[in-house]
Amino acid sequence: MTTPRTDPPLLTAEDLTKTFGVTPALDGATLQVYAGEVLALMGPSGSGKSTLLHCLAGIVAPDAGRVTYAGRDVFAMSDAQRSALRRTEFGFVFQFGQLVPELTCLENVALPLRLAGVRRREANRRSAELLTRLEVSDVAQKRPGEASGGQGQRVAVARALVTEPKVIFADEPTGALDSLNGERVMQLFITAARETGAAVVLVTHEARVAAYSDREAVVRDGKVRAPEFAR
């Protein structure tokens, strides 16, 4: 059963095209992301799903088309404005966590808050709370290299959530984990994201990961096929 969304989309991609060299990655991709929803972008390798995610996040500029966030054209903004947008409104989770190896896990989670100007003590307090919610408080004072893969990925999720972003972009967040750890990470991730009300754009090619989403969009040959409504 599907529920129609009447509210305006939070994030939209309109007719995006992007080519790397002679290889087309996006070819008229159009997509809407609504506040609070979990949207899975699925598709085979090389279909353009990661490129679409990077365009939506304001990381890679499309050759043509428009990306809007809350009605504002993302690529009409200056580089500094886009950076500020990513710092304050967006969160990111990558396949390998990409935590800063020299910082402790707690400091890694606190990093986006510190970048946003939050004082160290407050940033650490909020980060510690989140690590507890994600059940990795025991590695708070350890460096990423000393934590397991699953723990590291949960720390990365905490880092993405800590600024209470409106949208979280997750690119194959469980791609480097075994199924058991992947399941646990996804449960904790989606639960925490729903609690904060953040929308999640989830790139995956695994059906069991996509099962955590409200809506699935399939990317193939640079085009998006997405249902209008959430399931």
């Binding site: 304001g58 020299e102 970048l115």
Partner: protein
Amino acid sequence: MSAPGRRGPTACFGDLLLGIRLGVAGGRSGWFRLVMTAVGVGLGVAMLLTATALPTVGLARADRSEARSPGPGVEAPGPDTLLYAKADTNWRELPVGGLLLRPEGGQAPVPPGVERNPAPGEMVVSPALAELLAAPDARLLAERLDARVVGTIAPEGLSGPRDLFYYLGVDSLEAGSFGVSRTDTFGGGGRGDGATLPAVFLVLAILGLVVLLLPVMIFVTTAVRFGSESRDRQLAAIRLVGADTTTTRRIAAGETLVGTLLGMVVGGLLFLAAGRMVGDLVPVRFSFFPADLRPVPALVALVVLVVPTAAVLVTLSALRGVMIEPLGVVRRGRQRRRRLGWRLVPPVLGVLLLAPLVGGLTDGTGTLVEVQITAGVTFLLLGMVLLLPWLVQSVVHRLGGGGVAWQLAVRRLQLDSDTAVRAVSGIAVSVAGIIAVQGVLGAGQAAMTDRHGDSTRFQASVSVYTEPVDWSAERITTTLADTPGVDTVNAVARPFGVSGSSTVDVLIADCDGLRFYAPLPTCTDGDTFVADGRERPEIAPGASIVLDEDDPGTRWTVPNGIRPVEQYDRLVVADLLVTPGALAVPTPEPSTFLVRLDATDPDAIEQVRTAAYRIDPLAFVSDFDEQVTSGLLGTFEQALQVGAVALLLLIGASMLVNVLEQLRERRRLLAVLSAFGTRRRTLSGSVLYQVGIPVLLGLVLAVVTGGGLGALLLAMVQEPIRFNWAAIAGVTGAAAVVVLVVTAASLPLLWRLTRAEGLRTE
């Protein structure tokens, strides 16, 4: 590759060979690493090889000087004798050597490199001097050496290609005159430059050598770790296929050896190529012929042995700080806590070696003491290299707080400060050494200043001891006073009096002239002063002194009321300082002419030199300012500064290579940081702190060590301890500039890597 647990020389050799193969077949990035290492090591080795040739260069210069020095004196004139006199002069800060020649017969010896002795009015000059005389801005020198040039001196008669030397034929030399000697040969008269080396120069020479060579060696050990992170990743891949830790270390050693050996070849070629040019690039006093640049075989053997050994040891030591595991994962283990105890041994040893020499180092000190000083200075500076990693680790582990940039930098240093410290220790040694050198140099300069008197009153003096024909003291005074650039001239008589059985140094000048030699509280014509500490019955009031032994009419009685005066520090130019009014006898003929120069005329001293040369080529001109700021000390300072700048550039380059390598290694992470909105200035600031913190700590340690070493060395040569704060500020400032330049130079790459598009590299 050896199987895990396999041991023995064969396995060891096999692993080394595999490392060597990996080193030369590592693909494009492998080749890049190899080239970087080879070039870095090559530059260092070229400098080390140049240093190994310094003894032969010095000896060759000395031999060449000896070959052109007139031989032992001969009493009687003959067909094979000639009269000669040294007539050295200066052109600005350059020394110009000269010999006046007057053959006494047809078989008179001819100097090396010269076809025949120049006839009166003829001159044979070195090629460098010929070039200088033809230069438009050396007009005053050309006016001074205005004889007809009839030839140039061949290389066998020169100490170096830039040697400024001339032979002037004259007919005015008379046997027995002041400064004139007779000989029947050239060469064998002792090495020209072989005068006893003052203790302060010995200390400076040793210090200079250590200060320049130690950082070169440090640089070499830094260069062998260029690209270390990607090498470590490569080793991790080898671990995956079954290599154990010992094997990986051997492979790493093999790979290091390739780069180092290639670097030694590059260094050898650079040495051969640059050797042709170096002789022309060094200061004039040290210029040498390429053929004289012959490394001492024993020292070359030492370089060939020490460089690869040090390279392998550094690699193995660096590998102790990382845990290389299979699956391509290189996890850095917790940094080992560095211990202070053993690191204090070398500096303490250095102090123990130097301390016994405090107050006891005299001019012309022997070889054993030279070795002791060299070892002491080396241990002390080496100790600093060992202390720096401990200091950086101890300090960064206590650092906290600050913004994100600071936090990223501090945490990075907490995790791994080795790479940064390796490069910084080179800067630290350089800075510490230069601070110590500047201290000793300052003392040397001050000592020389003091030996002249108050150079604010008179800036030069002309001494004419030969009583040249037609030149009375009055005419000399007038001629000098009329010279462009001269304000006033003060004639000073300096007779050697006799009182009873002892000689008495007397200095006769008006109050203005006397004040150059001693700070007189009051002085009027008629006053007489006695040098403080020199009072004795022979010069007490009432004592009778004959001012000129040949003229009994110059007997003078020391008046009553003479006052003791302390002459300028270290200078006891005379027992008695007498104003003309105090003499009841005719004033002896002045021989020294104090000259006050027009400070606005930069060529005033050259005008004086030219005027003095025309009065008498043997007249001796002292430029008090020149002796303070240039001369041998100036040349040394200049050489040291050039060396230090070259070193700083070299070390800066290695720091830059390290920073760029780290950035490339972290490009994915940087892109991620950028993706979630990290500002560029945060990341730039992080790089600045990461480079700057170790440098700052290195500089603090360097200033303390350099200051301490300088104080120790000054105490050794019995000079008052003083610091050249301007020099300290200059050299630390230069190091700070290196930090800024390295940071600035890394920014383009940093910005390129922090483009969020970098995420696509996965």
